[in-house]
């Protein structure tokens, strides 16, 4: 009896501990990230864009905000993002959660653009009447001063990224910035190597894989992302002819019956033949009817 009670008590304590740790909603967001704010002003338009991004990327797990119809089969259950608990988080925290993710909650850092991520937050905030936005004080135009160069060296098979800012006072190299390089794939982006930090000259070097498939001509769309404290997040796209030329027709390209582009000859022949036989029979019948009419004249 005693041991049983003890077991129940232990169980209760343990479960309370677990419940507590979930209830705490603790995402451990670093203070500087927590204080981060959007440079985009939230309004009806941004929230509208946010809604459509949300519908594509989040609805499947989180359901419609305020409806409480998130996917209950997951553990933890994805919270309703209109709920008070989520709304208590700062914009910076939401942004951080979106960027990093946690176990089931995916990271959207490399999937959605920074702008889209903020617009989703704008959408999430539209369910909170008491919300007052604090705009980021950093200058949004600053990022436009940044020039990102990408060069490929065939011999070493390396990509050199150079990041510079054209300030009025002269050209400044951005040093010790985090640089991430991606190749665009069919679904999402593929990160190339590890992220690098720029040297004092604003240079980061990436080893490029020799076997990355490109399109028919070997073109690969590269995206480089720069994170700078002063200039913000910068991302640039460049198409380079450095992949392995690849042209694999889809497995069904030249055979399925529903294929729109490809008309199999045997079908054309059979169909035409069938229609022609019908035409002949029809002509014969009409001709016979005409003969029948004439044969009635006696």
């Amino acid at each position: 009896m005693y041991t049983r009670n003890l077991r129940i008590v232990t169980f209760a304590i343990v479960s309370m501990f677990f419940l507590h740790s979930f209830a705490e909603n603790n995402w451990n967001v670093p203070a500087d990230k927590k204080a981060r704010n959007s440079t985009i002003k939230f309004d009806a338009t941004t929230s509208k864009v946010g809604e459509s991004v949300y519908t594509k990327n989040c609805v499947s797990c989180h359901g419609d905000p305020t409806k409480g119809n998130s996917l209950k089969s997951l553990s933890p259950v994805p919270p309703d993002l209109a709920s008070a608990k989520t709304q208590e988080l700062t914009d910076g925290e939401l942004f951080y959660i979106l960027n990093t993710g946690r176990v089931i909650m995916p990271s959207f850092n490399n999937v959605l653009s920074e702008e889209d991520r903020w617009k989703i937050i704008s959408y999430i905030r539209s369910f909170n009447k008491d919300y007052v936005q604090q705009l980021s004080i950093s200058d949004t135009n600053k990022s436009q001063l940044v020039k990102v160069d990408m060069a490929f060296d065939k011999k070493s098979n390396q990509i050199t990224v150079t990041v510079k800012a054209n300030e009025k006072t002269g050209v400044v190299s951005l040093k010790d910035d985090e640089i991430v390089l991606f190749a665009n794939r069919y679904f999402g982006r593929l990160q190339i190597g590890e992220s690098q930090r720029t040297t004092a000259d604003g240079v980061a070097v990436f080893d490029f894989p020799k076997d990355l498939p490109g399109d028919k001509d070997g073109n690969v769309k590269l995206v480089v992302k720069v994170n700078d404290d002063t200039y913000g997040e910068i991302s640039r796209l460049k198409t380079m002819k450095i992949g392995v030329p690849t042209d694999i027709p889809s497995m069904t390209a030249d055979r399925t019956i529903w294929n729109v582009l490809f008309k199999p000859i045997w079908i054309i022949v059979l169909y035409t033949f069938g229609v022609m036989v019908f035409g002949c029979v029809l002509l014969y019948l009409l001709y016979s009817l005409n003969r029948l009419r004439k044969a009635g004249n006696i």
Binding site: S60, I257, G296
Partner: protein, 443 residues
Amino acid sequence: MATKSNTDKITSDLLRPIRLNKSFVIWMGFLGVSLVICLGAYGLQLKNGMVVTGLGDYVSWGMYISSFVFFVATSLIGMLISAVLGLSGQKWASPLARIAEIIALAFASVAGIVIILDMGRPERLLNVIIHGQIQSPILWDVTVVTVYMIISALFLYIPLIPDLKICSEKLKNLPPFARNIYKVLSLNWNNTPEQNKIIKQTTRTIAIFIIPVALAIHTVTSWLFANTSRAGWDSTIFGPYFVTGAFVAGTAAVIIAMYFFRKNYKLQDYITDNHFDMIGKLLVLVSLVYLYFNLNEYMVPFYKMKESEAILIRDLFAVNHAVLFWSVQILGLVLPIILLLFKKMRKPLPMLVIGIMVLLGAWFKRMIIVVPTQEHPYLPIQNVPLNFKIYTPTLVETLITIAPFILVLIIITLLAKVIPIIPVHETIEQLEDAPISPKGDLK
């Protein structure tokens, strides 16, 4: 030999229904009003779009397409009775040929209309032709249904030519313009040996040609399903499975029509108990073949229980669609077969009841084939309202679905009002060949 009085009796018996009477007007009035109500429902669908139906992204083929398959199926009976039985020398079936042809023509021509009901933008119908993809079974289907309709119309018309002449001569109480129409349509028929020969030749040509066409129309309809890889449709026996199912539905339709024509047109001497007996046996035969195909179609996947198929089979056998599935199989197929094995059951009234059971079963069977598969796609359905997952037809949709049935009844009633539904010329001719009294057995 056919005596003059015999010939006259046959002629007057068979032409008697061709006149306006009260019951015809009441019946047509009833059909007309019902059709207007259903068209009103269709107006709603045109105005508001397909939201008025229970169709959606997952189940996009519901009652309309099931009806379409049913209509195409039923129309095959023309080929079975007039062509197959005719060519194989089954003389007993010849008085039923015209009824079968009328049913075939009515169902085939309305089948095309049923497809239009399923279109959210019917004004784009011509795109099927303009942007038709020759490798798409949908284009083949449009082609063969049209061909079958034309051939069925000729199959009805050509053997009718001598009767049209008889109509124009004997129906003295008709207004002259109506008799003129009969005359024009009878193409100068004078019963000359050469004309008789031409009729025989052409009828035979059509009888032979219509067999592959009819097989094609229902096989192609089955390919609309079988050429996809969805669980439940991905089957190699769908062609013959549909064709045999079609014979079951069509035979039931002919039985029902036989019963009403015999009763209302007082044709007891021409559509005899023997005809019911024979067509009852025919129904058993085609039903047994169909049962055999059902066994293959459900037993084989049930034995293997491949994952995707297993979900569907479980749903059909034991979950959502179980009641409908087993009712259709037992009440619409197994029970009729057992009942019809007894001679007592092959009498007109019991046959009518069985015919209705089989025909209803045939319609619901199409639902069982078309709908449940779509409720179980390969990718999971997530975060959608319940009514997206489980197809529930709406009232408006039901009314619209009824419309083509009314249309079929109108076509059959009208055709049966203007032409003798038992071939007059042929009956007299048979009498001349084999002297039997019209009272007796025509066998």
